[in-house]
């Protein structure tokens, strides 16, 4: 928690300068905050950098999310800084609640993302970004118990995003594709690697349609590897995001996270709020 406090403290120091903070992007184009703290959808990091900063602005954002599925609850809070719409730094803390075992697993994630090319609205080709997420479990006891090799790991991902204006019967259509190198088991909450470890390059995708300037509905998919041999399954969701202005966004989703640590059919609700300065 101390790192998050430090990060939020740093952001608080920047707030007096928030008159200079960015509001230059078009409404809704930054996306929201994904479950590991990067700008994205709910599950998938997107090529957009967090917040409304354009190439001569910076932006700072904070978010909290809750995923409540059959046997578990995941709470995440974090923050992002966008520098000149070129680099994004993020920090998030995850609290994974396992009521059946009366256990809480905590993980912190430090992320960085660099925009390599383009703009989701204006460039001819999709916006392209490269990101990393370094994740570390506070207490690796559960991870070790279920057979994970490590208690920290680093994901690397390449994301491409594009918004096509008026492309679907006049509605704006968004898509994102992400390829991730990862050894994480269930985001890393169950550690990294395992006896069954094979596939490390994973595919993730999202697509959405904007019903209006401020409401998007869409779906997401995130491929998972089954390193522990515990039947880890791909994740998916259906979401609706509401971005009424450039200061706040609210995302609700229905999740299907498959089997988690032997408990099948983990479906449930997701709610996330991001604030933008």
């Amino acid at each position: 928690m101390s790192m998050l406090k430090f990060f939020l403290g740093f952001i608080a120091c920047l707030l007096p300068f928030s008159n200079f903070a960015g509001q230059g992007k078009l409404l809704a184009t930054p996306g929201v905050s994904q479950v590991e703290g990067s700008a994205g959808g709910g599950l998938v990091p997107w090529a957009q950098l967090a917040g409304y900063a354009t190439d001569d602005e910076f932006a700072i954002n904070g978010f909290c999310s809750r995923a409540d599925v059959s046997d578990y609850t995941l709470d995440v809070c974090g923050a992002q800084i966008n520098l000149f719409n070129r680099v994004e730094f993020s920090y998030a803390e995850q609290h994974f609640d396992v009521p059946a075992l009366n256990t809480k697993i905590e993980q912190s994630i430090t992320g960085a993302k660099i925009r390599l090319y383009g703009d989701i609205v204006y460039s001819q080709w999709p916006q392209l970004s490269l990101g990393v997420q370094h994740k570390s479990l506070r207490d690796g006891a559960v991870a070790t118990l279920v057979g994970a090799e490590k208690t920290s790991g680093t994901d690397i991902y390449l994301a491409a995003s594009k918004l096509h204006l008026g492309a679907l019967a006049g509605y704006n259509w968004f898509w994102n594709m992400t390829t991730r190198y990862s050894e994480a088991n269930q985001l890393g909450l169950l550690g990294y690697g395992g006896a069954n470890s094979r596939q490390k390059l994973l595919f993730e995708g999202s697509t959405a349609i904007f019903l209006s300037r401020d409401i998007a509905v869409g779906i997401e998919y995130r491929q998972k590897s089954n390193n522990l041999g515990l039947g880890e399954e791909d994740w998916r969701d259906v979401f609706v995001a509401w971005m009424p202005n450039k200061y706040v966004s609210v995302t609700a989703a229905w999740l299907d996270l498959g089997s988690i640590a032997g408990a099948d059919d983990q479906t449930g609700w997701y709610l996330s709020v991001t604030g933008y300065w």
Binding site: G22, Q23, G24, K25, L26, L27, T54, D55, D56, E57, N85, V121, Y122, H164, L165, G166, A167, L168, A169, G170, Y171, N172, W173, W175, G205, T207, I209, S212, R213, I219, Y221, Q223, D234, R236
Partner: protein
């Protein structure tokens, strides 16, 4: 995974359903009269905007209005050919940044909202204009 791919494929197919033979975007904007109303509303938006108005300090508004009406008519497949000024030539030296460009897009959206132009027609207008950005900003 399979269902995601099917949905993406369906979305792509939907996107392919461009109305061929239907009304042009020009007609959906109510032709010349509609475009004139839109540009007048847009000019009003600019005139009221402290962030943007300075770009028009030396502009001849009548010339701007006529040129934009002509340009939008041509862009929306109306019975016009754009004979106005070269986009790069007009904007060179103005140093319009990304933020101000997007703000002008927002003013255009405000103008379209003010005239109750359908959301999907608005998007199609924006799609026609978006490719011009490279000839307008940061020059």
């Amino acid at each position: 995974m399979k269902s995601t791919l099917i949905i993406v494929a369906l979305l792509l197919m939907l996107g392919g359903c461009k109305s061929t033979g239907g009304p042009t975007l020009y007609q959906q904007l109510d032709g010349k009269a509609g475009i004139e109303r839109l540009i007048d509303s847009f000019i009003n938006q600019i005139a009221r905007d402290e962030k943007i108005i300075h770009y028009f300090e030396d502009a001849n508004i009548t010339h701007f209005r006529d040129g934009f009406i002509n340009h939008l008519c041509a862009l929306t497949d109306g019975p016009c050919e754009y004979i106005g000024d070269d986009m790069v030539a007009i904007h060179t030296g103005m140093n319009i940044n990304e933020t101000d460009f997007n703000h002008v897009v927002e003013l255009l959206i405000n103008a379209m909202n003010e005239l109750n132009i359908n959301h999907t027609v608005q998007n199609k207008v924006l799609a026609k204009m978006a490719p011009l950005r490279a000839e307008i900003i940061e020059i």
